[in-house]
Symmetry: C4
Subunit: 234 residues, 4 copies
């Protein structure tokens, strides 16, 4: 493939960003060994960048991030990008093809989120941080087996039109989306945090539910007011 | 605003202290992503210093801490202090206006303290470290929504006249106060520690209560004897 | 003993690898103090290399790894290798003698895996990561006391012909095997990860089982497709 | 006081060792803020060295460790040793006066051990690591309030003649003893490890008890065979 200088620069930016963001997965203890993966869409092109398969976290560098088409096929002729892409590449590709507003996708087997997934149980919205970030409960997606589009389809079916940027794929673990890769990583960090807090809260007795009007008010405010440069979220 | 040299020096001291104390929140794993905030009153002035909104912990520096009036309004003309202040600034400001003895305020969503808050359940005082530090149970404050004074009012109503320097705001998380910012951070560390220990203790069977006379004796001793330079606590 | 130059080089390679892999045990928080041990078979020789007994993790170096025969006897005349070998050496040796396909063995008392072992309960396969890695439940081995071949026999009886590379020795803790030392360490990391996730999942309610055909499909795929250079696993 | 050169050297050795061992308490996450303390007996003298009160862990140095008589009184004229000693000094002193075989004492409020203490429940011996290290259950000591000899008496009454080097003081937390300060720190690390593992094990179902003859055999072996230079333990 031939790329303009602008696209080439965008590719290198996303490779650098995606490589660095994997460090957040280990710092936040969301992954063990070589599990988990981050991808990011290349702005202005039908391309995304994803982690290679089975490579140690400490060996991830911008130059070994894999550039893929939206069919999940590695793009030939990119130095460092010849290795096998993450075994979850097809799921990421499906999301990018079907949700054009998504700029980043993250998958982990983080402990508490995966525990809710192993019961096929959504996480109820009982703390304000969860209302802020996810606007309600974290939904469960269908059981789907790796190897075709079924994981991607399950993610898209569950999250399209949903406030939540996180889905708990049944018996598997969380996938998160975001307006860019960093936003999807934030959602991966936050879904584990609320999964842990709500699990522990419920293990000690009955939860006090939040009223829907409060959830709505918190979600609306957080999406529009929080931070230094509100740009809107998905 | 014009400040005397003495006040200018005090402002810079508090900005440095407040910036550094945020490192204790991450080291003690009380926060994720950009959540949580520390503030400190400027001695001798109607001012306090607080974290900017939505900035990474590793990017916090003395020079980007925000100086505010006791109405929670950022003070113009302070280099670095033009950014948006923490979205919890109004709650901190309310506490400083209404509790003149308070020199520091901390807010986190630390896991175990927030879990008790999600059940609206106070933490019972069953270990001597909790009697030492908090003088009894950790109380629950009312449910209050961000956006006006209601969080601040809930904190003040609950903690005024109470031994505890920590309140579990319902469905939200802990706020702590102290004679200065460091003392409030200590309370934030300790409330999570006792929240975790008592949760785990109770999950294994029945707790043995402490007698009130023992709680009183421990609290009195710890406030007056512990450490190198006892100065009294709130 | 006299060794060819090739065997001498292989011994040094394995000593370096085994020493370094102990760092994964501490990084993954699978061990405390001096507990736990990794060993690796020397390719092309009836020898293996194991950790010395009761030495601090930070003091482990290639040159103090102990070279042993397959009877678990330290080989004389190897500089640094005169110290007492791990007290679990006999169990490792038994595995190497009886499972020629095994190139690495790891033992820890990691918290959640040991908790299942203390109940004598196998870990049910309810998450896809576990189907990928272990192909089904993690089995429990017999209670066996240190001091003779009974631990080694229990490991071999349980794992021979089993998909799982991990066994929970009753009231004791996990032993894992692999095609080399690194593969056995990966299994030790993963068994603790799934032990923790499944424990937490079940503590919150009823688990949704995985169907056997899905477990079979996931195991088959992961053993043959995942990673950069599939070499097959045990 | 006047000391011989030999005693002066021994004092400095123990101050260095005790200062350094506090780092193990933070690395093993047994303490928060300034809580917890390690002390060590000075060989050949009626003296011990202990942490100062309320000093940050990162500021602990050999030169600010406090030298005390066996009555728990700081020895005047020792540079750096003028500060207030740990508020638990009286308890340590009582142990040294009444258990001449003890060379080190450690106290923490580590989470899981303190949780058992808050229920006044001994930790049952259901894993081989616990039989190795403690020779049976970890006993509970009486409730005792700080300020006189009652904590020290409770420790000594419980541990004298007991295999365990750890006692869970009721509603308070663990104290451990050892042949020297390092041995007591090891016991503090191990008591938290087994407290956590057994808590988690029991929270998942019924524990399988170890038979007394197996506990006896494991304890006997571990005390006499494990490690590089067996010297016997308490």
């Amino acid at each position: 493939m031939e790329f303009t200088a602008e696209i080439r620069a965008a590719i290198e930016d996303v490779r650098a960003e995606v490589a660095a963001l994997h460090g957040e997965l280990t710092r936040s203890e969301l992954v063990v060994w070589t599990g988990g993966n981050v991808s990011g869409r290349v702005p202005g092109a039908d391309l995304f960048v994803i982690k290679p398969s089975g490579v140690d976290y400490e060996d991830l560098r911008p130059e070994n991030m894999i550039l893929c088409t939206l069919d999940g096929i590695p793009v030939p002729g990119i130095p460092g990008s010849e290795a096998a892409a993450s075994s979850d590449t097809d799921a990421h590709a499906y999301v990018y093809r079907n949700m054009p507003e998504v700029g980043g996708v993250v998958h982990t087997h983080s402990t508490y989120a995966t525990a809710w997934a192993a019961r096929g149980e959504p996480i109820p919205c009982v703390i304000t941080a969860m209302a802020d970030e996810f606007g309600g409960e974290i939904p469960v997606g269908p059981f789907a087996i790796i190897g075709d589009d079924s994981i991607g389809r399950g993610i898209v079916q569950t999250l399209r039109g949903h406030r939540s940027r996180a889905v708990l794929m049944a018996n598997h673990g969380p996938f998160t989306i975001g307006k860019n890769a960093r936003d999807a990583v934030k959602a991966a960090v936050m879904v584990e945090d609320v999964a842990r807090t709500v699990h522990i809260a419920r293990s000690g007795g009955e939860l006090v539910p939040l009223r829907q009007e409060h959830i709505d008010a918190l979600f609306d405010r957080y999406q529009n007011v929080y931070g230094q440069a509100p740009e809107g979220q998905l």
